[in-house]
């Protein structure tokens, strides 16, 4: 049976992996290759790197990280953050990324998703969706949940799949950073409307949240950052817990 995936997310800035709470008090988390190897050894199914570099000058530094990780770690690597053009996608794939995640640029220019999928194949195009509950619906927000776009999250998800997204990474901006679990209602609503796999993100505080994300949220994969970075849980522990709850894991 196909296993549900656990994906640790690593924040990268200025060519280093960092950890912090809500992007403040960032501290150096160590060598990216060593961290990637550690997660790989623990059984991570994929790795996601999120480039949080503010200035575009230093954004190329992530290419070096991906190149080094791809020489040593042989599981799928996804890179997101600051992807604006087909050429950005090309450079990340050439550096060794297997998938590239597109967020704000898809909203500003939806044809970027179609163009990138036509050129490189849907299998490597992930669209990241940041959504917030507004009344009975969810709306797409940008800039860390500050700017509303007026786009309905479910219609947007369908539109992105129609344009060639091979996977959706859904982050609840209500839940992100709260450690109170995913927005499973949002994830299940999207998962039942699209044919591509979805990754649940935002809000994980304990291992039961990962289980709920799969069972209640109908997610195909769960992404978490802080519970793994700060050593609260290892990926091995997360997998054992999920296995115990009868979820198929690797």
């Amino acid at each position: 049976m196909l296993a549900k995936r656990i994906i640790p997310c690593l924040d990268v800035t200025n060519g280093r992996v960092v950890k912090g709470v809500n992007f403040v008090d960032l501290i150096d988390a160590g060598d990216p290759v060593e961290i990637a190897k550690k997660y790989n050894d623990q059984g991570a199914d994929e790795l996601t790197f999120l480039d949080i570099t503010a200035s575009s000058d230093n954004r190329d530094l992530i290419l070096g990280i991906i190149e080094r990780v791809a020489e040593q770690v042989f599981i799928p690597l996804t890179v997101g953050g600051g992807v604006r053009a087909v050429n950005d996608v090309r450079r990340l794939l050439n550096a060794g990324a297997d998938k590239v995640s597109i967020n704000t640029a898809a909203i500003n220019n939806p044809s970027l998703v179609s163009n990138a999928a036509d050129r490189f194949g849907s299998q490597c195009i992930v669209v990241a969706i940041d959504a917030k509950k507004t009344g009975n619906d969810w709306e797409i927000f940008t800039h860390g949940g500050r700017n509303p776009t007026g786009l309905n999250a479910i219609s947007w998800a369908k539109e992105m799949v129609r344009r060639g997204a091979g996977e959706l990474l859904i982050t609840s901006m209500d839940k992100d950073g709260t450690k109170s679990g995913f927005d499973n209602e949002l994830n299940a609503a999207i998962s039942s409307e699209v044919d591509v796999p979805i990754i649940a993100s935002g809000g994980v505080g304990n291992l039961d949240h990962l289980v709920d994300g799969i069972i209640e949220g109908k997610a195909d994969a769960v992404l978490a950052a802080s519970i793994f970075h700060f050593g609260e849980y290892t990926i091995t522990e997360a997998k054992n817990h999920m296995r115990h709850k009868k979820i198929e894991v690797r």
Binding site: F74, I75, F120, G121, V196
Partner: protein, 204 residues
């Protein structure tokens, strides 16, 4: 020398990196030069994206003949679309393949909405028969898949590996000097590296 056939579809660096990892002293080339493919001891035929694009790019680079020649004569490893292209026909674009394997490429049409397409992630590979390429890998080991089409060989004898996604499908084909897989060994951690190492040691 192992030649990885480059026809401009997708990034072959991870395939190259994985071979370098398992066989650092062996000469590994990523090439679109048919002379080098002819000269190689072994050939790797990868592929990603859509099969019609892959066949077109292969044809535009005049590589079809050298790939068919390699598939008839030397240890040959097909990966993902590289497996699919060996078949007679694909539902993707309703096109002809290279016709090296008697089989067809079909699209996943899951009945259950929560079986997503593409089939993406780590799934178990069952083995109907032993093969040198499986050495050192436990039966039912998981490999990483990402694909929307699968192959259906005409004869059971061609099936070297099976996987279940709603129903069983063939995920590895073997025929004489050919071994071809639907999953990505270069992204399948230890088990995938073992398979690639086996290829570097495979004598036919």
């Amino acid at each position: 020398m192992i030649a990885i056939v480059d026809y401009g579809m997708g990034n072959l660096r991870s395939v190259f990196n994985a071979f370098k990892k398992v066989s650092p002293n062996q000469k590994i080339l990523v090439t679109s030069d048919s002379k080098l493919i002819q000269a190689a001891d072994k050939v790797v035929f990868p592929g990603q994206g859509a099969m019609p694009d892959c066949v077109r790019e292969l044809s535009e680079r005049n590589l079809i003949e050298s790939v068919i020649d390699a598939a008839r004569n030397k240890p040959f490893l097909g990966i993902c679309i590289g497996l699919q292209m060996l078949n007679n026909f694909s539902e993707e674009g309703n096109i002809k393949g290279l016709g090296i394997i008697d089989g067809r490429v079909l699209k996943f049409k899951p009945k259950n909405h929560f079986n997503k397409v593409p089939h993406m992630g780590w799934n178990e590979v069952h083995r109907p028969k032993n093969h040198f390429m499986w050495n050192g890998i436990p039966n039912n080991e998981r490999f990483y898949f990402v694909h929307s089409y699968y192959v259906q060989p005409q004869s059971r004898n061609l099936v070297a590996g099976e996987c279940v996604y709603e129903k069983p499908f063939c995920c590895a084909v073997s025929k004489d000097n050919i071994f071809a897989v639907q999953f990505h060994p270069e992204k399948s951690s230890q088990a995938g590296l073992q398979l690639l190492q086996n290829f570097t040691r495979w004598k036919v």
